[in-house]
Symmetry: C2
Subunit: 99 residues, 2 copies
DNA sequence: AAAAGCACTTTGTAATACAAAGTAAATACT
DNA sequence: AGTATTTACTTTGTATTACAAAGTGCTTTT
């Protein structure tokens, strides 16, 4: 057996970033407040994790409006989808013998 | 969709502890140096993660000898196996829609 | 004009990770 | 006998990360 963790993506060590990514994989776009409620975290904390993911080019955002209220929606990028899937595959491989 | 991350176990956020657990799930017992080589980390770092897992009662250890050299082997506890499997199930559920 | 909502940024603190060095107990070399 | 080596740590120090709370700028609602 060789190193099982070397293919895990450090960005996805964080449970919150995992949660964000899984929400964005399933839903084509999710807005700030939906994510905040979904993950039950403060807005500052959410913003900082979104920033990390954005800097990695794993997500993108679009500022818009719902009616007259500002509304920022987030979605996953190709890069992000690829990285996330690779991480999941590495996880699966690592724990494959378990179930 | 409700909070996807609330059932994730914080102890398993760490890639190294994930690696230790996955090694121990697959192999009935693994010694210190095997783990160290497998995960490619320093002994101090490994010891501290083992301590965290031991304090959670997820692993147990047994001090012994190979020939005349000291040898500490680690294995998973019932509690640890249960917690790990629950974590994996939570992960699967979270990302189930992906693959 | 005041209050509230949105999506942040900034600030400060606490927790965590990690390498490196130190330690203890035993064995192995010279 | 004395020194070195190995194992499995513990301790120490530093850097990174997480997070809450407070503050900001813009807009809308009252």
């Amino acid at each position: 057996m060789k190193n099982p963790i070397e293919h895990l993506n450090k960005i996805f060590d964080s449970r919150i970033r995992l949660g964000i990514m899984s929400a964005l994989v399933v839903n084509s776009s999710v807005n700030f407040n939906e994510l905040k409620e979904l993950l039950d975290i403060t807005d500052g904390n959410l913003a900082s994790h979104l920033k990390t993911l954005d800097e990695a080019a794993y997500i993108k955002f679009q500022k818009g409006f719902i009616g007259r209220k500002t509304n920022t929606t987030y979605s996953i990028t190709k890069t992000g989808e690829k990285a996330f899937k690779q991480h999941l595959e590495a996880l699966e491989k690592m724990i494959g013998a378990v179930k």
